[in-house]
Assembly symmetry: D3
Homo-oligomer: 240 residues x 6
């Protein structure tokens, strides 16, 4: 089985980290194929960048010359998943939704701890649209930007743990989703300090994608995600 794991930003070290995490949980027969978008921003921390990332991931995968069985969109709270579902027949798994769906099976309510305050409503909106927010207790920002996570993992862990404990004790969450593709390596540390299940979106997405493929499930083409209609484009796609 071959799974495309698409980073949403153009920082290849983050693509590498995501791929490493994906491989760590993948089944023996699963090949993880990392994708870095051919254009876009070095990190995605807002709607403008996220919309650019959405089309960048779509075009980069359209231009990908190889076979694959599933796509993982490895950005937290980002736009674009519906477009991938239209363009391709294989299952598309967004890590925001994968983490949330996984959390529902291990706790009564869950919270998300993400990077910056401005990402909070974006994540809330994605979970609302995905139909996964009914048992969402809260979304909290650690205050650390995406690229700071790599630079100072200790500070990141402490900031995340502080918010996670607040979520468990005050908001009554029973499981925590780490709300950034770049937080993948921090899971065990946060478990140790909070005592509740901690879900990494990339790991959750890999297992869900493998499961969908094993069940021979592909994206429904009944209506919302039916193949795009034939039409003329002007100045698009850009040369990659």
């Amino acid at each position: 089985m071959r799974i495309l794991v698409a980073n949403v930003n153009t920082t290849t070290s983050m693509t590498d980290a995501i791929a490493q995490q994906a491989r760590a949980v993948a089944n023996p027969g699963t090949e993880i194929i990392p994708i870095t978008p051919a254009f876009g921003a070095e990190s995605i921390e807002g709607n403008y960048e996220s919309y650019v990332a959405a089309v960048a991931v779509m075009e980069t995968i359209r231009a990908y010359d190889g076979e694959f069985d599933a796509i993982i969109q490895a950005g937290y709270g980002e736009h674009g998943r519906e477009g991938l579902q239209e363009l391709f027949d294989v299952p598309v798994v967004d890590i925001t939704e994968a983490a949330a769906a996984t959390a529902l099976f291990v706790g009564h309510r869950y919270s998300v701890v993400t990077t910056l305050d401005r990402a909070v409503p974006m994540i809330e909106d994605r979970l609302k649209l995905a139909g996964l927010s009914d048992r969402l207790a809260s979304v909290h920002a650690s205050g650390l930007a995406v690229l700071e996570l790599e630079r100072d993992p200790e500070a990141a862990i402490q900031a995340i743990v502080t918010k996670a404990l607040h979520a468990v004790e005050v908001d009554r969450a029973e499981a925590i989703c780490l709300g950034c593709g770049g937080m993948a390596g921090l899971t065990s540390r946060v478990v140790a300090q909070t005592g509740v299940p901690v879900i990494d979106g990339v790991s959750a997405a890999v297992k869900l994608a493998e499961g969908l493929v094993a069940q021979n499930l592909s994206t429904s083409k009944a209506r919302m995600f039916s193949q795009p209609r034939e039409k003329r484009f002007v100045n698009w796609p850009p040369a990659l």
Copy 2:
């Protein structure tokens, strides 16, 4: 007051029709500045095209060399409004949301009649996110594609009226939103055959945008729509 009215597709005759409708309802002192995106599809009828349109509208307006007081995104059920709100301080009004907010003031429940079946869940999702779906009775597809509206307006009117009457009688809608930027000219005909208020999104958006500007309101920069952070982009934006 200068209002940018952005068509979401690259068909200039549709840009013209939208601008004409906008001017028909605008105040005397309002200048309507039509925008056709510099890249993208000839019509938007799905998520892939809509995401491309979202960034196309953003980049085209970023490249626009002139002053303006508000932006109207004249696509029904399309992605991208949040990105425009981040990039610019002036109010941004999406016609899907403008029509719905207007409908709330003239009827107890409202329905939307749009083009193709695949647009139905897209419109539902946008209204849900906008917090405007609580009194939404239904969204129906007339079955006519965007560009067919221009070609055979009579057939379009009949298809729309049929669905609108069903919405009023069965779904208990009390007002109808015409769910496509290209349906602007059809309002009075549908009113005549249904007897309920019929809202055209472009008109609704123009009046709302004028009202926001008159109240000196601009997009909140408190959190979700704060200015994008400084960062490096790779291969972006495309040369326009």
Copy 3:
């Protein structure tokens, strides 16, 4: 265009203040016609008074001998809007709903800052019924009664700003509605101290009403707001 702007209480200085605010944002061709109800309480701060105000506004406008194109009900969180919509064909705009609908276009979530604690659930109920509460972050009471606003505007501003800042920082509102017809003049002061868009309901209602009239929209008579049926009344209406 002639717009009736109905104060809900019998304090004419408040009618004057509301009319002044309405005129300040109205288009040049709009005539603002202030209405003071012919009976009722000097200020409306509870359900009993609000129900009396509801029928007082209805009867006063029924007795009004002149033409008009729209009605604004200038009370915050008050009963009665549906009755006006039944009695008249012209659009009826409630300032509670006008402020909320306007707030949706300038921020992701909004809060209301009103007068007394007892008004909080009344406003929540009106917004819930209006289908506008999905992105409502919170309703807060400043603790000042309606008529105190006129007496000590400085104290009012400080009390409002304190609650507004709490709404922005803790409840994550991105825009603030001032929840009392008598708070109209305070908008710019609250903007200066909070940095977020602040919406005055009277202003919002004027622009919405003008917009509805410009679009030739009137109240749907399909069901909920159809003309009252012919019937006998006992001892009603009172002589005005």
Copy 4:
């Protein structure tokens, strides 16, 4: 125990019928005191009449010279209950809400069958505000006006049964509320033809009111329903 049972219209034969039904289910020690409003319409079939009825019931009970332990507002889908709760300390039970709360205990979902189409959204709104609409399957109109029920009970029963069966079979209701104070006597006939529990609002309200009094419960004065504040009224209340 003395319970005021307030008809909302001025038709005394309907007051009598309501009182008769109330007495039929009341405990031996319960005295039913019928109230006909001192002003208002002969039947309530819309918002205007309902708002007038709301204040008429309030003023009539304020003017009532006697002791009482509870108030029943015997109109279906009408305005005004919150005002009564403010004015008086004793429990106030609205028959719309009483029927719905009762239905929840005998079926998984319930429907309401009412008189005219225009009453449907009014009832839906009241149940939504009351927090009792989560398991509401549907509200249907029989098409018969309030006063027609008295004139042709056989036709009324057939029209109600038709809608009730639709509610059970199509909308999956498991219990039916008869949505008009004047339908009280029809319960057993509708049970016989539908096979599901049928709730009459007046009966439900009497038993709930008796229960509240027996538990020494009175209306909370914590916030929403605290006693009206002292203030001056102009031309109000009318001489009764």
Copy 5:
């Protein structure tokens, strides 16, 4: 009228206390028949025990050799009510739901104060399923286990009052439900210290059950609660 009042645990002193409270509010003609389950745990403080209690109550009542007109399940937040409704035709009233439905008639929002933290989500879930959580302000745990209530009533009252005051002042509840069958005797003390209506579930359930019987209402057999189908059981029921 004969009402079975089923304790959910096997502690007979608690059965006695519940029966005493039931009798204190019952009508003169009502016979309260206490039921202690034939198997199960001494107190119910979690899902495992609650599921055992659910079937224990069902089997104990199935084995009960006598006539009865209604069943009260006197556990707070427990499983099993739907099973009783299937097995028997008489009305079944759960005290969690009875308290909530009663609270809706005396305050705009209500809170529940229960025993242990782990009971909070159980109660929330039951109220959600019952369609009674729309105006639920909060559920709080006093921190006292079920059997501690008997041992130290003074401590219990203080812990409950502290949480009740928080519910009223911070969560804006206007009425309080005591969330444990064993809290029945504490009502007046909590009223005295909070000033808001306090509802005991057992009392509320008795009055609701009496009311349902008086209205000749029984459980709908239309669908969800239709009589169990004939089938073979293995090793069940246990010998009691």
Copy 6:
């Protein structure tokens, strides 16, 4: 990895069929251990039987003498999952929820096709509590009892396909969950006749359970599912 797959009824041929389906999708290293409850009904088609099944599954697994890494509860719309989560630390996956969570990843909305009409509200309730009903389009009954599925699979397929097509075309579902543990073998036939993804709950649960174990996730013991407290039981558990 060892996964207990618990049938909820006592029909061992159904346990065998479930185990066969589970093994068909399990990873090579996964051992499927089928469990038939030690007591209970031959098929579960209602709340009474379901509650008995809930405790039967709990007690049977408590008595199971072996190690295991996850539990699957293979009944559709049944009670009891929360009890298993309390009793054990390993992940517990209910097939109703597994199918729904899986459906969310392959279609915009999903429907469930189950056996009897009486199961419909049970499934709706479970999905509501699980926080997975926001994108649920409908639940339909094929009209076939659980044990009839084995006897006449062709009739079952036709009945299921008829309802599935209705769900896709009228309710706008884009994916279908087969709502009975005994429908596992029918998936490909229903796909062939509907053209949309069809999810079997047992398969979905196996892949989710494997994924949870691979991520080292176990049930949160923070609150709702914390280990049962020590306490005395009377006449329980039964000798197995």
